[in-house]
C-alpha cells in the first residue's frame, strides 16, 4: 500500500498520447487540417462580406469569385481572387429557342433581351476579374466610341484578407490550444 503512494502510473498512456500528437500521425494531420479548413472558411465568408461592401452594384454576384483552399502536404491554406478554372458544363448558357421549326431555313430570328444576355454570360464564380479590377484599378480605356473611363484602385483584398487571415490564424491557435489541453489535460 505504501508503494502505491508514490508509484507513477500512466507513463505509457502519456507516451502513446505524445506519439499520437505528432504531426506525422494521420489522425493529428486530419484534425489540424480540419481546424485550418474551418478557420479559412470563416475567413472567406468575411472577405466575401468585404467584397460586397466594395461592390456597390453586383447583379452578377461577382463576390462568389472569392476562393479558398487548404494545402494537402503542409499545414496551411490560402484565400484568393484569382480566376477559377473553366467551369465547363456548369455554364448557364441555354441555346436560344427558335421561332422557326427545325427543318425550316434561316437562323434564329427572335431578338434576345439584354437580361437574357446577361444571364447567359459569366456566372458570379467566374467573375474574379471584376474583383481584381476593383482591387487594383484599371487604366482609362479609349475606344473609337469614346472613353470608357477607369476604376479607382481600392486595394481592399490585401487589407481584408490579411486581417481575416490573422483572425483565422488566431482561431487555429485557439483550437490547437484546446486540442492540446484536451489531449494532455494540463489545465
Amino acid at each position: 500500500m505504501a508503494q502505491d503512494a508514490i508509484t507513477v502510473t500512466g507513463i505509457e498512456q502519456f507516451q502513446e498520447q505524445l506519439r499520437k500528437m505528432q504531426t506525422d500521425n494521420p489522425r493529428t494531420k486530419r484534425v489540424l487540417q480540419t481546424i485550418i479548413r474551418r478557420a479559412i472558411g470563416e475567413a472567406r465568408k468575411n472577405v466575401i462580406k468585404d467584397a460586397q461592401g466594395v461592390l456597390d452594384n453586383d447583379p452578377r454576384h461577382a463576390y462568389k469569385a472569392v476562393r479558398n483552399s487548404v494545402y494537402k502536404q503542409i499545414f496551411g491554406g490560402q484565400i484568393n481572387i484569382l480566376s477559377s478554372r473553366r467551369r465547363g458544363a456548369a455554364t448557364n448558357w441555354v441555346k436560344p429557342k427558335k421561332d422557326r421549326p427545325e427543318n425550316a431555313r434561316g437562323g434564329n430570328r427572335r431578338k434576345r433581351s439584354l437580361r437574357t444576355m446577361q444571364l447567359d454570360s459569366y456566372e458570379g464564380a467566374d467573375r474574379g476579374f471584376i474583383l481584381r479590377f476593383q482591387n487594383a484599378g484599371t487604366v482609362e480605356r479609349e475606344t473609337r466610341y469614346g472613353s470608357r473611363g477607369s476604376l479607382r484602385a481600392r486595394h481592399w483584398f490585401g487589407t481584408s484578407s490579411a486581417f481575416q487571415m490573422d483572425a483565422a490564424a488566431s482561431r487555429v491557435a485557439e483550437e490547437i490550444e484546446k486540442l492540446l489541453q484536451q489531449e494532455f489535460q494540463l489545465m
Binding site: A2, D4, Q15, M21, F163, A173, L180, L186
Partner: protein, 784 residues
Amino acid sequence: MAKDVITRFKLETTGFDSKIKEAAKELSAYSKTATQAKEGFNQFTKANVDAARALGTMATSTTNVKDRAKELVGAFNDAAKAYNALSDEQKQSDWAKALSGSLTQLQQRIKETKTEMQGLGDSMKGGGGLFSGIGSKMEGALAVFGGNLMTKAAGAVAQLGSEMYGMVQQGIEMARAGEGVRIAFERLGRGDILDGLRQATHGTVTDLELMKAAVKFNDFKLPVEELGTMLAFAQQKAKDTGQSVDYMVDSIVTGLGRKSLMILDNLGLSANEIKEKMKQTGDMTKAVGQIIREQMAKAGDYVETAADRAAQANVSLQNKMEELGRKFAPVEEASNQLWTSMKIGILDIIGGPLARLLNGLTEAGRLQNAINNMNGGVNGGPTRIDRMVSMLGDGKSARSRNTYNKQLGVFDERINQQQFRIASLSGKDAITRGLRQKAETELKALEAMRAEYISRANDVFNAKPGTITTGGGKDDKKKNTKTEQTELQKNQSKINELTQQFIDINAEASRAGKPLTEEQKKQTEEIQKQIEKLKERNGLLGLFAEQAQGRLTLGAGDFQRDGLSNTPGTLLKAPTTAVYENGVMTEKAVPTGGLQLDDKAMRAVTKDIYKNSQKEQNKNLSKEQAIEGMSDLIGGVNNVFGGLQQMGIEIPQEIRSVTGVLNGILTVVMGIESIITVGQFLGIFHNGGIVPGFANGGTISHAANGYFVGGTHYSGDVTPIMANAGELVLNKAQQGNLASQLQGSGLSALNLTATIKGEQIRLALNNNGRRTGRGEYVQSRNVK
C-alpha cells in the same frame, strides 16, 4: 500582382513535433529512474512502517518524557473531541467502538501516570530510573491506542499511506539538507568512526548530527578519535540534566573548538578543574578528555532509560527516513524536472514557436505587437517613448512640465479617439468584431505606453533634488511630504514673527499717542506683503500635503481644475465655494456630499446651462426691446406735446391722457412674462406708429361698439385705436384665418349643421324649370 490577389498562411510544425519528442524522451528517462529507485523503496520494510506508525508524530522530535506525556494528553483530547463529534449511528460502527475502547484505556493510563508523577514530587526532575516505569506505561498506552485504532479502524490503511507519503517527503527534505554534511564527512576519509560514534551515543543521536559534529571537530583541528568519548559524555549529561543530546553535543564541540570555558560550563565541567588539568597536560582537549573519563568512571556503567529508548526509536526512524530520502531525492528531482519541463514544453508548444509563427496570436502577444508597432524602436534603437522622455530634458524647467502635459494631452486624445472608435464598432459580424478586438488591443497598448511614459517622466522629474513633484512613487511622496511640512512649519514661524513685529510697531505708536511715521508705515506695509506671500505659499504647500496624502487624485482625461497641474495621478484641490460672511468674502470647502462633476458631466451641464441662458437672453432681449420701444414712444409723444405747446397749439385733455395710457402699457409690458403677449401688444402698437397718424391729424378711435379701420394703408400700422381689456382686434390675415375656420377648413371644434328636405329641392327644381322655360316640376300622383 499575385500578392494582391492571394493571401496564404502556413503552420510550422517543426517546433511542435520537436517539443513533443523531447517530452516523450524525458518521460522515458523518468520512468527508468523510477524503476531503479523502486528497489530502494522496497527496503523500507513493514517493520519500519509499524515503528513509524506507532511513534507517529507523537515521538518524532522530543526525548523528554514529560513533553511526551503532554502530547499524549493532547492527542487524547483531540481524539475524544473527534469521537464526540460523531453521530449516534457512527458511534455504533466497529471503528468507533474500537476508538472508544482505546480512549478509555488511554485515559486510565494517563490517570495512573499522573498519580505516580504527583507522588514523586520534586524528585521527578532527576533520576533516570523513574522514567523507565513511566516510559513503559506510555509505550503501552501508545501501543494500545495505536494497535486498536490502526488495525481495526476503517480507513486506517489510507491514513498509513498518507503518513508514509509524508515521511518520504520529510526524508527527502532531510536528505537534501544533509547532502552537504555527508559530502563533507566523506571528505574526512573517516567513514569507520561513524559506527563508533553511534555506539558511544547509544543510538540517541542521528547520523546526520554525528557527522556534523565530526566535521566541526575536524574543522577546529581537534582529534576526531576523542569525539566518541566526548559524545558519550554529552549524551550522559543530557540524560542527567534533562537537556537535549543535540544541545550537549553542540556545546562540547563548540566549547572545545573555541576553547571557551563558558560554553563547556553547559556540560557541568568546572572551569577551575579544567585550568588545573591544563597545567598538567598543556592542552585543553586533553584536559577535558581526562576529566570526562574520570567522571564517566565515577558514574559507572551505562543505564538505558525510557527516554533513551524513545530517542533511539526516533533516531532510528530519522536515519531510515534520511536513508530513504537519499534514495528518493533523485527520483523526486527527476520527477519535478520532468513535469516542469513537460509543462514548459507544452506551454512552449502553445505559447512559443507556434504562437510566434502564427504572428503573435495570444492576447499578450497581440498586445506586445501593438505596443511594438506603436512604440517603434527597430533593432534596439530608441523607441517613441525614449524620444518623448528625452524631450523632457533634465526636468528642471517649466518647459519640461509643459512638454509633459502636452504629451499627456496627446495620449488622452488618442485614447479618447480609440474609445470612440471602439464604441462605434458595435456590430456583431466577424469583421466588426475583429476590428473591435484590434482596436481594444491598441487601446490597451496606448494605455500601457501612457503609463510607461508617466513612470519614466516622473523618474526624470524626481531626479531634481528638493523639488515638489507629484505622481511619483510612494517613497517620493513621503519624502516630499516631509520637505513640505518642514517648509510649512518654517513659514508659519516666520509669519508669527512678522505679525509680532507688526503689532510691536503699532503698539509703540499707540503708546506714544502719535500716528505712524512714514518709515513705520513702510515697514508695516512691507511686513503685510511678506505675510501675505508666506500665507499664499503655505496654502499651496497645504494643498501639496493633501495631494501627498492621496486625498484627491486627478484621473486620466480630467480637466485642469486647480490651476496646478493636469498630470494624471496629481491630486486635486478640494472643491471650494465663496461664502459672504460678516462683510467678508471667504472661500470655504464644499461640504462632504457636495456635487462633483467629471468633465463629461460638466460639459453636458454647461451645454444645458448655455442653451437655457441663450433662451433666457432672447426672452430678455425681446422684453428689453419692447420696453425700450415703449419708452421711445412715450418720449416721442412728450416731445410732440412739448413742440405743439411751444407752437401755441392747445392740446385737448383727452389727447394729453395718452401719455398716461402709454405709461400704463409700459408697466404692463414690464410685468408680462410671455414674449408672445409682448408681441401681440407690439402688433397693435408698433414702435412710433401713433406719431405719424396723430401728426397727420388723425384721432384715436374708440372701439367700444366694434370698429372697422377704413382706408387703404394695409401696412405700416398707422391708425391708432383705443380699446379695453377683453376686446378683440383682428388684422386681415387673422380675419382670413377666422373665416376659413368658420368654413370648416381649420377649426374642428366649430360644429355646423344644416337641414335639407326633399320638398325644398323639388321646389328649387320647379322654380328653376319655370324660370328657364323648361317646364315645371310636376308632383307625381298616386294611382289608385
